[in-house]
């Protein structure tokens, strides 16, 4: 009888032993998890690829990323779920108008700023506050909506937003279909009426609408769905329009004949906040996540890999001038009038719909 323990048995025992030792840590990793809502498409793909794996490695918190629809669809879903005590995502990337609207229903759990190490380095527009000063959201990413063109159709880049009004561009434009995401009123005000302050009064708003209506014959597509325009821009079917600077940059780097131009009046700078649903039971993990995302090194990594403009002061960033220029610009941006979009939403929407449909 052979009593010697074979090599194979030892190995098998080692595997079982290692498995038993490994088990608790697997359970711990599953314990600590966070559902993060990120805009679907390029954003989600880039975050899944470049950002979330390192976060899990650094903190042991597993990230389950959820593809959010843009606009207010996600806000409606979050709010309805929160009323039922559910959180489809613990942390969500939210645009500024939904941030303001979510504040009015106390959708966002207040954030403890002492848990964010680089809180002091955030640019002021990237801290979203409740009326009473509680913090509702922390800047996640900023992005630009710029004037985009198909390079095959337009060998020369346009210089001004006035190109949208140029009669030579009849039936060639793709513009965002909603007053609340196209920010074209702000563009009109900045391009023709000296700045977005021109929209302070209803008279000023009507003047901007009137000027904007002149663009209609040039517009081939008023798009709600980004994929719809992106495809048409790449193929040259709709060779000019407004689109996201970062996404256009990524498409160009993949070899598509598209370019993004900052017009001399400035690109539209929009931004998103990280906000935590009040129904989430994972505030602790959420704060670890927001703190991690607000580090200069991660903001720099996002600028390089995702193409977003950083939320922190320029001087704390490790971006080279070239890297900074690729995601941002020295040209003063057009900042959307979120206050108007939150408070006069219905009136603006009605006028807008009548303008483009009528």
């Amino acid at each position: 009888m052979n009593t010697k323990i074979s090599r194979r048995t030892v190995l098998a025992g080692a595997v079982v032993g290692a498995g038993a030792l490994a088990m608790p840590s697997v359970l711990r990793a599953q314990d600590k998890s966070l559902k993060v809502g990120v805009y679907g498409g390029y954003f989600k793909k880039s975050f899944d690829e470049h950002i979330f794996p390192d976060f899990t490695k650094a903190t042991g918190i597993a990230v389950e990323s959820v593809a959010e629809p843009t606009g207010e669809a996600w806000l409606v879903q979050l709010e309805q779920a929160a009323r039922a005590g559910q959180a489809p995502a613990d942390v969500s990337m939210m645009a500024q108008v939904p941030m303001l609207k979510g504040q009015s229903t106390e959708l966002w759990a207040p954030i403890d700023e002492t848990r964010i190490k680089h809180f002091g380095d955030l640019l002021p527009q990237f801290v979203s506050k409740y009326q009473d000063g509680r913090i509702a959201g922390i800047g996640a990413v900023a992005w630009y909506i710029t004037l985009v063109t198909n390079t095959d159709v337009y060998p020369q880049a346009p210089e001004s937003w006035e190109a949208l009004w140029d009669a030579a561009n009849k039936d060639k434009l793709g513009l965002l279909a909603l007053v609340s995401n196209s920010f074209l009123l702000e563009v009109t005000a900045k391009t023709f009426f000296g700045g977005t302050n021109a929209l302070d009064t209803e008279e000023g708003q009507l003047k901007a609408f009137e000027k904007l209506a002149e663009v209609k014959p040039n517009v081939r597509l008023w798009y709600r769905d980004e994929a719809q325009f992106e495809q048409a821009l790449k193929s040259g079917e709709i060779p000019m329009g407004q689109y996201y600077h970062d996404v256009t940059g990524l498409a160009a780097s993949e070899g598509h004949p598209v370019r993004s131009t900052f017009p001399k009046e400035g690109g539209i700078q929009d931004s998103g906040c990280w906000a935590v649903s009040r129904a989430s039971k994972k505030m602790d993990e959420a704060l670890v996540f927001i703190d991690y995302m607000s580090q200069p090194s991660i903001q720099g990594l996002m600028s390089r890999k995702v193409g977003t403009a950083p939320t922190l002061k320029r001087e704390v960033l490790d971006l080279t001038p070239e890297e900074f220029a690729a995601v941002s610009t020295e040209i003063e941006p057009i900042i959307p009038r979120y206050d108007l979009h939150a408070t006069k939403a219905d009136w603006l929407n009605q006028k807008w719909t009548e303008m483009i449909v009528g």
């Binding site: 409606v76 609207k101 009015s104 229903t105 079917e237 408070t343 939403a345 929407n349 009528g358």
Partner: protein
């Protein structure tokens, strides 16, 4: 045949299940929608429970009237196109061998598996200038350079007819299969041409089925909101598109609900009117 009167509660038992389903999937959601349509919109957020007519008042304007009118017209046109194409097609189909019929029906069913998004994007590619069918016409020498056939009313109509056609055929098919072939034979024996026999015998014999098909496609088309966006210009947007804008993008549930309730009531009224007129005619 004498019809038995129902005597006890158990005679109604078979109605319990369908009744329950109707309550869960129609009465409850629709009642919720009616209730929400009277709620107070909160522009800074969502809505408050209330009983106001503001949402209906906002809808009663020339602008929304025109959009509603366009939506109804488009749906009627889609329904008429579908029946005009589907009826002769199905009539010819049921005369084919079993094997050929099966192939056609499987093909039609596979079209039903396509989502509205896929149909919309496929047609927008087919009708585009850069990759569309006009390139084929250029290659054939029929036109000089490729043109974009969208966005246009024709593109919207084409897409919607394409989407609804399989439903029309599948509704017409059983009725046409059951149609007594001797009816046409008799007409032919009495000297009618095939066309005349079709229009004077087959069409009247299946009048009710045709009306039912038209109503079904009409209601189906009324709910379409993606195809008008993808294939049309803003003036071709249906009321359903504006309802979606309000519900999803403006988070104005009360107004969206009011528009939806209005749309349902108008379409119910139209369907009722159609049936009423049909009954009058058949009684006369």
């Amino acid at each position: 045949m004498k019809r038995e009167h129902t005597r006890s509660l158990t005679d109604y038992a078979p109605l319990v299940y369908p009744g329950l389903m109707l309550i869960i999937f129609f009465v409850v959601p629709f009642s919720t929608m009616i209730a929400v349509s009277f709620f107070q919109r909160d522009p800074a957020g969502f809505y408050k429970t209330a009983f106001v007519f503001d949402n209906y008042a906002r809808f009663l304007s020339l602008f929304f009237g025109q959009v509603l009118g366009f939506s109804l017209l488009l749906s009627v046109l889609v329904a008429l196109c579908c029946v005009t194409i589907a009826f002769p097609f199905t009539y010819l189909l049921v005369r084919q061998s079993r094997a050929i019929q099966t192939v056609w029906l499987v093909a039609l069913l596979s079209v039903l598996s396509l989502s509205e998004v896929i149909i919309g994007f496929s047609w927008s590619t087919l009708l585009s200038r850069t990759a569309g069918i006009s390139n084929l016409l250029v290659w054939l020498g029929l036109i000089d350079q490729p043109v974009a056939l969208l966005p246009s009313f024709g593109a919207v109509l084409t897409g919607m007819v394409y989407q609804a056609l399989p439903y029309s055929i599948l509704v017409l098919y059983p009725a046409l299969v059951r149609l007594d072939p001797t009816l046409v034979e008799a007409a032919r024996t009495l000297g009618a041409s095939p066309g005349r026999a079709f229009f004077n015998v087959v069409v009247p014999a299946l009048r009710n089925t045709l009306v039912a098909t038209i109503i079904m496609v009409f209601v189906f088309a009324l709910g379409s909101y993606l195809l008008p966006q993808i294939l049309g210009r803003p003036q071709h947007w249906t009321l359903s598109v504006l309802i979606t804008d309000q519900a999803i993008y403006q988070s104005n549930m009360p107004f969206a609900a009011a528009m939806a309730v209005f749309l349902v009531l108008i379409s119910l009224a139209l369907v009722g009117l159609t049936l009423l007129v049909g009954r009058r005619e058949s009684a006369a």
